[in-house]
């Protein structure tokens, strides 16, 4: 929506497609209230430069530094624009923004959005509706990008409200579709995040980058079943500045480091999975967060929760679980796609006229992401994509639509409704994909498992994709039809993810290999997935873009964390020169 606003302001005619209802579907409305921006309201030592270094380091030096520079230096201006759209941040008594510190921030840097990501999305939607040049089309499921020679020419989408396919001709296309956490079983994200944006870009010939990097958020609820996967912010629950709760394994023992700051997400998820893997899980397969052991009083905790994010706790209360009186069970869940479509600092992909902004893009954060940078990313790169795509549309003639490609796609998607022998339901195909990813491409990976995954996905494709069948009628708002479009793309995308994970022979951030447990300097580069033809793809690599010489200018890993036994290779290879 930020991209549409910018392009419209620039004078372009914009069509904004949303997969569900605008501001009610996708990742942003479900997001936590955190927006990272170095305003330095709490601590004068903070600055965009410090945020830049934090982001490079916590991304395990895998993020492109030109993108991180844009992100950290423009997040503040974009936050102020959000405010003009009516988004409100929590304020202090003196009227300044409240800023809170989350793991990986050197200083208090996260703004707290009143009403969470939902309010941010609602503010953007209001601004979209105020713009004269934006036509909003909701409940549209994109199924293919169209091309004219090398450049983009538009797209085809299933209009759920009318139950028919729609082709849209466009001089430029911006993907802001989110990532693919839905490839796994346990995720805290919206179920529509099935990765079409990433896969459609690949089909159109764009480079994909670091697909193996899927961020596991440490604390998704694993009980009760109504709220499985709901995210609770460990940053607020466990740090001593806030709730000061403790994390315990199934045996009731503490296992987090007792010294130093709370670990960031990649380290947390490894420590938690280690407890689970070694047989110290809770009855529902997670670990506990216990607020009763906090030195703070229940009243204090309650008011902190209200200040930070009370929604999941209200819902737990409705379900009869009182977080102040009983411990809750949590486990790491897929949360944010670090990999995705490769972009430059103007959100341009490798296909002329095709842009990508937000989670769908890949090389911004690196191998791990700190809290608050996802919402900031949507605004910074949304604006940049909006400007550049509007310029592209102004400077290039209208493309021609490839009618043959259009007909093929209409037939392909229409065939999902046709009667078939031994038909496969889309939901069953999704279930199989998720099981393969869960069994072989989960938080710990090895060559044997990854090869099995690739094989299993290839056989799914040859056995089942042909037989995929949604209910034929009614066509209007046919969920199975939408799921068929998603599931068929998910098979191929999952294979690319497994292949990228196989290529990266090291452990870095959220990519954790059993057979290559150490982080390796030689692998401080991107994996690139590129389409060759209908059948084939290659996984190659590309250097990380640097603004600084990192052989000289690099932060050392905290010794408290090195000693935990989950970060091999970080100590030997990383020199302290800070």
């Amino acid at each position: 929506m930020r991209a549409a606003i910018e392009a419209s302001t620039f004078g372009a005619e914009v069509i904004l497609l949303t997969k569900g209802q605008a501001a009610r579907s996708g990742a942003t409305p479900m997001a936590c209230p955190s927006y990272q921006a170095a305003f330095a309201m709490e601590d004068d030592r903070d600055s965009p430069g410090v945020a830049f270094e934090d982001t490079c380091y916590e991304g395990r030096y895998l993020g492109d530094e030109n993108l991180i520079h844009a992100l950290t230096h423009e997040a503040t201006d974009r936050a102020m624009e959000l405010r003009q759209y009516g988004v409100k941040y929590r304020l202090k008594e003196n009227g300044n923004f409240l800023q809170v510190v989350h793991p990986g921030h050197s200083y208090e840097r996260n703004l707290v959005i009143l009403g969470n990501g939902y309010a941010m999305a609602a503010g953007l939607r209001r601004e979209v509706l105020r713009q004269q040049n934006i036509q909003l089309m909701e409940d549209m499921v994109a199924s293919r990008l169209l091309k004219d020679g090398d450049r983009i020419a538009g797209l085809i989408a299933l209009d759920m409200r009318r139950g028919q396919l729609v082709a849209i001709k466009a001089r430029s296309v911006i993907l802001a579709t989110g990532g693919y956490p839905e490839l796994w079983r346990w995720t805290d994200t919206e179920p529509g995040l099935t990765g079409e944006g990433v896969y459609l870009a690949y089909l159109a010939g764009a480079d994909l980058v670091d697909l193996e990097m899927m961020l596991f958020y440490p604390t998704g609820l694993c009980y009760p079943s109504e709220v499985e996967g709901t995210l609770v912010q460990y940053e607020g629950l466990l740090t001593d500045q806030y709730c000061h709760g403790v994390m315990l394994n199934g045996a009731g023992e503490r296992f987090l480091p007792d010294k130093g700051p709370l670990p960031v997400r990649d380290v947390m998820m490894k420590l938690m999975f280690k407890e689970i893997e070694e047989g110290r899980a809770t009855p529902h397969g997670g670990v506990y967060i216990d607020l009763r052991e906090s030195p703070k009083t229940p009243q204090e905790i309650q008011s902190i929760l209200r200040e930070l994010d009370s929604l999941p706790y209200n819902q737990l209360t409705d379900l009869g679980v009182n977080v102040l009186e009983e411990r809750i069970e949590v486990k790491p869940v897929t949360h944010y796609t670090l990999g995705g479509v490769r972009i430059n600092e103007w959100a341009e992909t490798t296909v002329p006229g095709l842009f990508a902004a937000g989670e769908v893009s890949g090389n911004v954060h690196g191998a791990n992401r700190t809290s608050g940078n996802a919402l900031a990313e949507t605004q910074v790169f949304g604006r940049r994509a909006g400007i550049r795509s509007a310029e592209y549309a102004r400077d290039n003639p209208a493309p021609a639509i490839d009618l043959a490609a259009l007909q093929d796609e209409v037939k392909r998607v229409g065939d999902f409704l046709r009667e078939k022998k031994h038909a496969v339901r889309p939901i069953d195909l999704k279930r199989k994909i998720k099981a393969i990813m869960h069994n072989h491409v989960y938080y710990r990976r090895d060559a044997q498992g990854l090869n099995k995954a690739i094989e299993a996905l290839q056989s799914l494709r040859s056995d089942q994709v042909e037989r995929i069948k949604a209910v034929g009628t009614p066509k209007i708002y046919n969920i199975e039809w939408e799921e068929a479009i998603e599931a068929v793309h998910m098979v191929d995308l999952a294979e690319l993810v497994a292949a990228a994970a196989l290529a990266r022979e090291e452990s870095r951030g959220h990519h954790w290999r059993k057979d290559f447990p150490a982080m390796r300097t030689a692998w401080e580069k991107h994996t690139i997935a590129r389409r060759v033809d209908e059948q084939d793809y290659v996984i190659t690599d590309a250097p990380v873009i640097r603004l600084k010489d990192r052989s000289l200018n690099r932060r050392a890993m905290d010794p408290n964390l090195q000693n935990l036994g989950v970060l091999t290779g970080y100590s030997q290879e990383y020199k302290s020169n800070r």
Partner: protein, 124 residues
């Protein structure tokens, strides 16, 4: 949160309680003149909310049921709003993911206020 947590629910032999009897408003503007109620009997395999009940019907009994499926699971997004009759009480435009269901209940689910696109999906 994903709705698809591994196994097909039908393969799960555990039954926690009496089934839920639910009447759901069905309406397809292309073929129907008037909406009608359709009855489903849903086994109580796990703790359910009204939303997870709809998921269970879609997954296990009727792939033609239309309802808004993009959901936060936290009572934020409001896409799962509908009108529910339960225990002799009508609750209008409630977020179905926040309403727990006990075994053996009989409920009626109608769309929230707004123009019906199909079944429980409305423009709002």
């Amino acid at each position: 949160m994903s709705h698809i947590l591994g196994e097909d629910p039908r393969d799960n032999p555990v039954i926690l309680g009496e089934p839920i009897i639910v009447d759901i408003l069905r309406f397809d503007p292309e073929t129907d003149i008037e909406p009608h109620l359709q009855r489903y009997v849903v086994p109580y395999r796990r703790r359910m909310s009204v939303f997870t009940l709809l998921r269970e019907i879609y997954e296990c009994q009727d792939g033609t049921l239309a309802f808004r499926n993009q959901q936060c699971g936290r009572g934020i997004c409001g896409t799962c709003r509908c009108t529910i009759e339960m225990d002799g009480e009508t609750r209008k435009n409630v977020k179905s993911c926040t309403i727990p269901l006990e075994p053996g209940k009989h409920i009626v689910i109608r769309p929230a206020n707004g123009k019906i696109i199909r079944d429980l999906v409305v423009e709002f």
